[in-house]
Amino acid sequence: MTSNERITSDDVVAWIQGFAQVLRENKGYLTELDSAIGDADHGINMDRGFQAVLAKLPMVPTGDVGALLKSVGMTLISTVGGASGPLYGSFFLQLAGTSAGKPEIDLAEFVAAVDNGITRVQGLGKAQAGDKTMLEALLPAQAALHQAVDEGASPADALAAAAAAAEQGMLGTIPLVARKGRASYLGERSAGHQDPGATSTHLMLKAAADAWSRA
């Protein structure tokens, strides 16, 4: 891919399928992270949601990025539950935002949609940077994406940079004391553990980078 390459609905399908695959493989790992500071279900929740997403894919009109992302968001909201359901679900609904009917979008459009998604996650969850949530992965990724756009990077390179930034953010959750979500009940005892949601967010971005670099 090069800077002027675009993100097609096939790219999005590959991303979603890749992420679902990764969640399958990391179901136990994410659940284990959640059992340390939460209620031992994050991997189970995300896997349940994305298996449902895969089941719905065939029914989604092809060649429509917006319809695709909207279906993902709706399905997650309807099947995941917990904190991650509304958060990931609304995030994907916002991603769908302006791309309804479009067979493909460019990186700038994608990044603008990601901005809306993050805004919605913050609006719903009332969390901020430093609260030890998925935002610890999303916010650095957001910055990386904007820089990539400015530098005219390709979608694949942009997402690779975003995934790398998210991974740093994910690792950065370890020392943090949670102030939102179930982990916050632990207070000080939440420090020393990696946040499950930040981890799944890193996996989500990495799945996009992997899928699109293969394109």
């Binding site: 659940t31 059992s35 500071i37 939460g38 209620d39 031992a40 279900d41 189970i44 929740n45 349940r48 909201i77 309807s78 099947t79 995941v80 539950g81 917990g82 904190a83 991650s84 359901g85 509304p86 958060l87 719903l124 969850g125 102030r179 939102k180 979500g181 179930r182 916050s184 009940y185 632990l186 207070g187 005892r189």
Partner: protein
């Protein structure tokens, strides 16, 4: 994992099917996994719905019936239900007088109920919500998710359900539910962990000589991990923070609720109640109503929780009012 189950993924569906088979005179089950009072909606009556992750039985489904809930939404084990469920439940029970959502204070529950309320209002339903957050084990703060909703929820559902049955309007039952929240405090402890069926292994490790004080109903770690103590010491460790938080004062009348977490037998709960009664008496707090049993559980976790609700004539009247559900029944 030692459980009487078939497949982890079928636990909730099969338990609901069993509930329906056992209580067809009380409830009906509608998609997606909502337990609805047999005769809902009742014209002119405010609908009372609640819900949450499964694994806390009999809460909430066992409380659906006359004088308590009109519907309960059963999520996956320990995972809040999805908005579709609360939306469907709201539609199923709205008798034209609006619907109250009783929500336990967990990020997931809050967000899913909020999304559902948005959709329901968009469909023209009048919806209000009250957040139950009574677990004193969690230090409260504006900057955190706040306290967990635990045992107080059971009492709120009974009391608010009675008011709705008596014809109170949405604003009144909403205020009443908030009043219960403002006057109820709880704390729990675990002797053993629970095991989420889909996870397959205990949520937390705990040694044979340890206990977890302040545990959450999802096996969330609590205030502190300690060496096993006697029932009297444990009761004091739970009751003291509860009594001092509200605070409950000399002369107060309270409802004392000693709850089993799923793996603890009744004989042990009575031993705890025995000490709790002594502790309240010593502080001049009078237990005028009580409930002893396993009503809000954490799968097979062994342990207990204590809930105290400060009573006045109004709360007492609605607590005493007839209730007829699979799990709570009197006056009928």
């Amino acid at each position: 994992m030692k459980k009487l189950i078939n497949a982890p993924d079928n636990v909730v569906d099969e338990a609901l099917a069993g509930m329906l088979a056992a209580h067809p005179d009380y409830i009906r089950i509608e998609e997606p996994n909502i337990i609805v009072r047999k005769d809902a909606p009742r014209a002119g009556k405010v609908g009372i719905i609640s819900g949450g992750g499964s694994g806390h039985e009999p809460m909430h489904g066992g409380f659906v019936g006359m004088g308590m809930l009109d519907a309960a939404c059963a999520g996956a084990v320990f995972t809040s239900p999805v908005p579709d469920q609360m939306l469907a439940a709201t539609k199923a029970v709205d008798g034209g007088a609006g619907v109250l959502h009783i929500v336990k204070n967990y990020t997931g529950d809050i967000m899913n109920f909020e999304l559902a309320a948005e959709m329901a209002r968009a469909d023209g339903h009048e919806v209000s919500a009250v957040i139950m957050a009574d677990d004193v084990a969690v230090k409260d703060s504006l900057y955190t998710a706040g306290r967990r909703g635990v045992g107080g929820t059971v009492l709120a559902e009974k009391i608010v359900g009675a008011a709705a049955e008596a014809g109170a309007d949405l604003a009144t039952v909403t205020a009443l539910c908030q009043k219960v929240q403002d006057n109820v405090r709880s704390m729990g402890m675990a002797l053993t962990s629970c095991t989420v069926p889909a996870a397959g292994k205990p949520t937390f490790e705990i040694a044979d000589d340890e206990m977890e004080i302040g545990v959450g109903i999802h096996g969330e770690p609590g205030r502190s991990r300690m060496k096993l103590a006697t029932a009297d010491e444990i009761t004091e460790m739970l009751a003291t923070p509860i009594l001092e938080d509200l605070p409950f004062q000399r002369g107060d009348n309270v409802l004392a609720f000693v709850n089993g977490l799923g793996g603890t037998p009744l004989i042990e709960l009575y031993i705890v109640y025995n000490k709790l009664a002594q502790l309240c008496a010593a502080r001049g707090v009078t237990i005028t109503r009580n409930l002893v049993g396993s009503y809000i559980t954490s799968l097979e976790m062994a342990g207990c929780s204590i809930t105290l609700l400060k009573l006045d004539d109004e709360l007492t009247k609605y607590w005493d009012a007839p209730v007829n559900t699979p799990a709570l029944r009197w006056g009928v």
